[in-house]
Symmetry: C2
Subunit: 260 residues, 2 copies
Amino acid sequence: MRESIFLIGAGNVGYHLGRHLVDRGCRVTGVFSRSIEKAQALSELTGIPHCHTFNEIDPTADLYLLAVSDAAIAPAARSLYQMGIRDKLLAHTSGATPSSVLRPYSTRYGVFYPLQTFSRERVLDFSKIPLCIQANGKEDEALLFHLGERLSEAVYRIDDQQRAVLHVAAVFVNNFTNHLFQAGWDILERESLSFDLLRPLIEETAAKVLAYRPSDMQTGPAVRGDQATVDRHLEYLQEQPQLQELYRLLTRHINPDLEV
Amino acid sequence: MRESIFLIGAGNVGYHLGRHLVDRGCRVTGVFSRSIEKAQALSELTGIPHCHTFNEIDPTADLYLLAVSDAAIAPAARSLYQMGIRDKLLAHTSGATPSSVLRPYSTRYGVFYPLQTFSRERVLDFSKIPLCIQANGKEDEALLFHLGERLSEAVYRIDDQQRAVLHVAAVFVNNFTNHLFQAGWDILERESLSFDLLRPLIEETAAKVLAYRPSDMQTGPAVRGDQATVDRHLEYLQEQPQLQELYRLLTRHINPDLEV
């Protein structure tokens, strides 16, 4: 018999996990969310029954997937424990939180971390999303691994330390990159130029590193050592000191020989 | 009769421009490149005759497209001038160089700037590439605009000042972004983790801003004000001071309330 899964959380991660688990034929017996709207949205899409108070949670599931914010992981696990759910497998879905925060609340715990940025508006091909799996026992690790394989072609065994490192790297390539996109937006907005001018460039910048090492794809005035262009850019950015500061630091990192 | 085009330069931009001009039925009567290999590569693909010395250049073309590095634009225009090519339309393809560098060498000059990052390995859908057009006369502007429309659905009239601004913004969203991708690579490499773990995230990060404003898509510990995660990340980066410096600055810019 296949394991039954109870989903805690119907935010961005919970929503996408829930719908893809159901799509792939997994047994999701319920979803808990403090937000009635969020739980209903997932319920309506998937048919998963939803509830909003902890004592409505089905205590007989085999796996409790905690798709909640980092700060809510331990409190959610504690609530399950207080309900008497103590020998069941708990797994959170976070990149930033060690699995050990679950240890006080069950002898069986692990992580089921999809390394992707989720937003409700976008439907993702889950089969391409790297799933980082970890558990404190071999059997539970196998259970999470096989569950991962139902969703994705890219399932990895990743321990707490590795996942913490992945999360730092993800901040660079996702959060910080997105902030640079906004810098581009801000620069164009001052001149009433459309961000559409940059969108194909952004798309191609990302597409290039899907097949190559980023440093092999590095172009632009900094890596060329084009001091004249760098000077012109810094002068232009004089009135936007934050962007100028960012330009200086990134240029210096790309090419320490430049004067910035 | 359609205008005849002579292409100066067979580097990344020249190569892609040459092949797409021919694909779209434009009359490209020759390509000049100092590099025999590069000129031959384009010739073999397109049938455009190639040459390697300036005095072999056809002096009867209607338009000379200077797809050369920024530093080589003025010298190339000067060489054409010295050959007697003086009343023909010259247009360079650079984002960083003002059109006025061509003024000493012809009464008719302009810019034909495809806002994209080109590499030989990747075939691009030219119809989506923004083409930034400028000329010092209305007729020549119309000529370049219509030529642009043969290649792309996104042709814009962009003056020198606007193009300079676009180029600054392009450095942020392309060069600097790519450098952050390499930072992600470096972080994973230290722990022998595969960059493949980050590639779907990179793809989705870019895909999101194709439809949305980047700041609306901002996620992560900085924008959440998650000081504990930021502290953990900074501690982890202690041994990589350059990355730590970058992390501090970007985090401070995303959220000035955090202590970094």
